[in-house]
């Protein structure tokens, strides 16, 4: 009776380990997909924020990159 009980527990635990493996595999697939999505989005951002792209997008409105460097006012104590 005890051995039977032990066998049932062993079978149950082995099954639950297998279920966890399926779950882990599924989750790691999801992680990879989410990671990929992140990289894809970052790639898009990189392309969008490039000056050459912004220049093209804004050229219709007559806006172009300025060649005048900005001026920074520095106040000294002395």
């Amino acid at each position: 009776m005890f051995l039977f009980f032990l066998a049932v527990i062993m079978i149950y635990s082995s099954h639950s380990v297998d279920t966890k493996i399926y779950k882990l595999n599924d989750l790691s697939k999801k992680v990879v997909m989410v990671e990929n999505e992140f990289i894809e989005k970052r790639k898009e951002i990189v392309k969008i924020k490039m000056e050459s792209n912004i220049k093209i997008q804004l050229s219709d409105r007559g806006i172009a990159p300025s060649l005048n460097p900005p001026t920074k006012i520095v106040i000294t104590k002395e």
Binding site: I21, N36, K43, K47, S52, K72, V74
Partner: protein, 601 residues
């Protein structure tokens, strides 16, 4: 009758006994005699060693923008047989429409393809290749495919693909790496140069097969975890790279050049901030064909006059006042002419003028007169500075500079005068720039640097310091003189590059208009401009080379390469604010004055 029956029974019984004995023998044999063999076969089928490939590291620009990364790409197939008739009939046409819209193909063509595949019981019809995760999400919602693998026959396969977010920008410099059939790593650019960091190490894991075709990791001591590749941060500045790419491409197209290259380097550290190359295809389009900036050795022409001048001043051969005859703009050595671009020459002028006007006859006279009886002194000077050696950069394909030596069999009466104005020798644009950068960097020649830092997968950070090739290429006095000369080329109204003078800051540099294919009938030119900015406290040095521009449009270094330099410099410098300093007292005084004025009014 009864005996007959018993006999039959015995015969059957004996036969069954023999049969069962046979089974028992076979069982015994399988279990004990051949047991090990079969256990091994079973183990081989259910337990396997898997090589776990590491994730290749990312390649970043200096601000952390991804230059190269590994992502998953998907191939999508459909099992046309598994789909029920009802679903197929009702949804196939809308699926075809969606596919054709996605692929920008013909809907009828897609429909015929799918229907034909179903007729032929095709269980593995390819629908899409190399789609990204975003597109995969859309495709999964297409008619039929939305029912998944069992009802809709959807089969998704993934593979790791190397992605380059910047596409054509710095394509050749970022490069790639592949494994050839012999298992060796082959490639170009930074991807290959830093492959040893990016690759990582393979792991090994033992797995046992469980149900549903899945594998369970066995916990034994033989498992080795893969070491993922390190992330490599390069010195490339994507903003500057974008500017350089845009401006160089525009000029290369405008002048219908064969190829061109540009490099921007940070003066004090030698960090390469941008590197662009364009080569023309047969159709007349341009793309990053080869890394000309690193791998193409060219005759430097007038840009080499800087070296000649340094040598003359270091050997006290001349001073800044002494007049040199430009020989009416024409010199002859053994039947070969050295000519000035200005017909008739410039008369008698000093070295400052010679350099500013880029007089070939002036510089050749000065070098030839002083070194003709001791050419070894001139050659040794070049060697001491260190520009006759390769830079030893990580990107493969850097040729060794070529300089004739008086001990060579090929040395002749033309070698020295030709060398004086940059012919008969060859250097890559990067090697020329490294030399000019040393002048901007107070005489310290630094090795061009592509690698900023490496972050390993376990979080360790390794930074790379600058490497000095020569701590002082010339004396302080000579340095001051040549700095003034380079400044005058752009800032002085008579300078060859006065046309690129900027109203925002000062530029120093030297033009080069070198003849190429001069031994053939059709002479072409290589237009170069190399220099640094801002002149008083140089931040960046830069070289532009445009090879074989259309002569009818223009070919001078100042008209072809110079304007690109100016545009790049102005755009880079527009990111650095000018500082206006005020003291608190000044502001208070100003405020007080304003108050008094307003009260008076």
């Amino acid at each position: 009758m009864e005996n007959n029956f018993l006999l039959r029974l015995y015969v059957v019984g004996i036969l069954m006994l023999i049969f069962s004995l046979g089974i028992f023998y076979k069982l015994f044999q399988i279990q004990f005699i051949d047991g090990d063999k079969y256990r091994k076969i079973a183990e081989d089928k259910t337990v396997k060693n898997f090589i776990t490939e590491p994730v290749r590291g990312n390649l970043y620009s200096n601000d952390g923008s991804i230059l190269a990364t590994s992502v998953l790409k998907y191939d999508i197939f459909v099992d046309t047989k598994i789909i029920s008739d009802k679903i197929f009939q009702t949804e196939v046409s809308s699926l075809c429409e969606k596919i054709s819209k996605f692929k920008k193909s013909n809907s009828n063509y897609e429909c015929t393809r799918i229907k034909k595949a179903r007729k032929n019981n095709n269980r593995y019809l390819n629908l899409f290749r190399n789609v990204d995760i975003k597109s995969l999400g859309k495709i999964k919602r297409f008619p039929i495919l939305k029912y998944g693998s069992i009802k809709g026959g959807l089969i998704i396969e993934n593979k790791i693909s190397r992605e380059y977010p910047f596409g054509k920008i710095a394509e050749r410099t970022i490069g790639y790496e592949r494994i050839d059939e012999n298992g060796n790593f082959r490639g170009v650019g930074l991807e290959h140069a830093f492959g040893r960091f990016l690759r990582g190490k393979n792991g090994l894991v033992t797995k046992r097969k469980i149900s549903n075709g899945q594998w369970k990791i066995l916990d034994n001591n033989l498992n080795i975890s893969p070491v993922n590749g390190s992330n490599v941060y390069t010195t490339i500045d994507i903003e500057i790279q974008d500017i350089v790419h845009d401006n160089l491409l525009e000029q290369t197209i405008n002048f219908e050049a064969d190829h061109s290259s540009a490099i921007v380097m940070e003066v004090s550290t030698g960090k390469i901030k941008a590197i662009s190359n364009f080569g023309r295809t047969v159709e007349g389009k341009y793309y990053e064909k080869l890394n000309y900036a690193v791998g193409e050795s060219i005759e430097p022409g007038s840009t080499f006059k800087l070296m000649s001048v340094i040598s003359l001043f270091e050997d006290n051969a001349i001073d800044t006042i002494q007049k040199i005859d430009t020989k009416n703009g024409k010199l002859n050595f053994y039947g070969f002419d050295v000519r000035d671009s200005k017909e008739g020459g410039y008369g008698e002028i000093n070295m400052m003028d010679i350099f500013r006007l880029s007089s070939n006859t002036g510089i050749v006279s000065a070098v030839n007169d002083f070194y003709k009886n001791r050419p070894i002194t001139f050659v040794d000077r070049i060697s001491n500075i260190g520009i006759d050696r390769s830079l030893g950069i990580e990107i493969k394909g850097e040729p060794k500079p070529k300089f004739p030596h008086p001990d060579d069999n090929t040395w002749n009466g033309l070698s020295l005068p030709w060398m004086a104005y940059g012919y008969g020798i060859s250097l890559t644009p990067l090697q020329i720039l490294t030399f000019y950068n040393s002048i901007a960097n107070n005489g310290e020649m630094v090795k061009p640097k592509f690698l900023e830092r490496v972050t390993t997968s376990d979080g360790h950070d390794y930074k790379f310091k600058k490497e000095v090739i020569n701590s002082s290429v010339c004396s302080k006095n000579t340095l001051d003189i040549v700095n003034k000369m380079l400044y005058d080329v752009v800032q002085h109204p008579n300078g060859t590059a006065y046309n690129i003078k900027s109203k925002y800051f000062n530029i120093s540099g030297k033009t080069g208009t070198t003849q190429v294919d001069y031994n053939s009938e059709s002479i072409n030119y290589n237009s170069t401009f190399v220099g640094f900015f801002p002149s008083h406290k140089p931040k960046y040095s830069c070289i532009i080379t445009v090879n074989k521009p259309n002569k009818k449009i223009g070919y001078y270094g100042s008209t072809v390469a110079g304007p690109v330099f100016k545009n790049i410099a102005e755009k880079i410098m527009s990111k650095y604010p000018n500082h206006l300093e005020f003291s608190v007292e000044e502001i208070e005084r100003e405020l007080m004055d304003n108050r008094i004025t307003s009260i008076n009014q």
